[in-house]
């Protein structure tokens, strides 16, 4: 029987992979993809808790808001990436270290 912990472990794995992606990628698009993975992991958690917790729909609503925010984040993030590309002609985060101390 599939229970809550199964879902939590799937979410955990996706989250860890997303985190790894964010930490190691040098391509800003790769970093954005990692963020999407993390958001999806969070969503799986929300829906799992909504399913196995008390019978309300709050978890589903929050999940929809997360998707909405992910969309907004992706739009702005990609616009920033394009802006970076126009300025530096690269989206490698090592090429954009102009803020280093």
């Amino acid at each position: 029987m599939i229970g809550l912990t199964h879902y939590l472990f799937v979410a955990l794995l996706v989250f860890a992979l997303g985190l790894f992606c964010v930490l190691t990628r040098r391509n800003s698009l790769g970093i954005l993809m990692g963020i999407e993975l993390i958001l999806n992991a969070a969503n799986i958690n929300y829906l799992a808790f909504a399913r196995f917790g008390p019978a309300t729909y709050d978890g589903q609503i929050v999940a929809i808001f997360v998707i909405m925010l992910a969309a907004a984040e992706a739009v702005v993030g990609l616009a920033i990436v394009l802006g970076i590309y126009q300025t530096f002609h690269s989206i490698d985060v090592e090429a954009t270290e102009t803020l280093r101390g």
């Binding site: 879902y7 190691t24 909504a50 399913r51 196995f52 589903q60 490698d92």
Partner: protein, 167 residues
């Protein structure tokens, strides 16, 4: 093992496996496409969690919107010839250590926490319920969300356009 369990494991495998490709692939195009696998797998999981509407939204927004944007961004920012090694990873080992430690702690928390789970109620179609909630209890967040989206839209336009010189 029941058929439903099998399907769950397949979906979980799809989700996690594609996520692994996203995390480890050296080609940004592959990463972007396997992201679709994660999104679809997650959508399948949502259906298992009796969240049909969220699953549809997931497919529509993530696969239909965000992913397409990602692919567009890849297309706009890379010359085709250097796509092969377009997604370098640096510092893999320390990252693995940190992430592994974090994952271990979280896994420990998942296993040891005494979850008070209720017996799942029978699944029902959620679209109408969510619609009512959005226009009822969640009206204000709903409207705020639309404002946020509008702001994101305007922000994206003003960020990505070419600077216009004032005459």
């Amino acid at each position: 093992m029941q058929l439903a369990d099998l399907v769950f494991y397949l979906l979980a495998l799809l989700t996690v496996g594609s996520a692994a490709v996203v995390a480890f692939s050296r080609n940004v195009v592959y990463a972007a496409f396997s992201l679709m696998g994660t999104f679809l797998g997650a959508a399948g999981l949502y259906v298992f969690l009796a969240a049909d509407f969220v699953a549809v939204v997931q497919v529509l927004i993530y696969v239909g919107g965000i992913l397409v944007l990602m692919v567009f961004a890849v297309m706009l920012t890379h010359r085709i010839e250097d796509v092969q090694v377009s997604n370098r990873s640096v510092g893999t080992l320390p990252a693995l250590l940190v992430v592994g430690a974090g994952a271990a702690i979280l896994g420990y928390a998942v296993v040891t926490t005494p979850w008070r789970t209720a017996e799942p109620v029978p699944a029902e179609a959620t679209t109408r319920i969510i619609g009512d909630l959005f226009l009822g209890d969640y009206l204000l967040p709903f409207e705020l969300a639309s404002v946020v989206l509008l702001a994101a839209l305007i922000g994206a336009v003003s960020l990505s356009r070419k600077e216009l010189r004032r005459e």
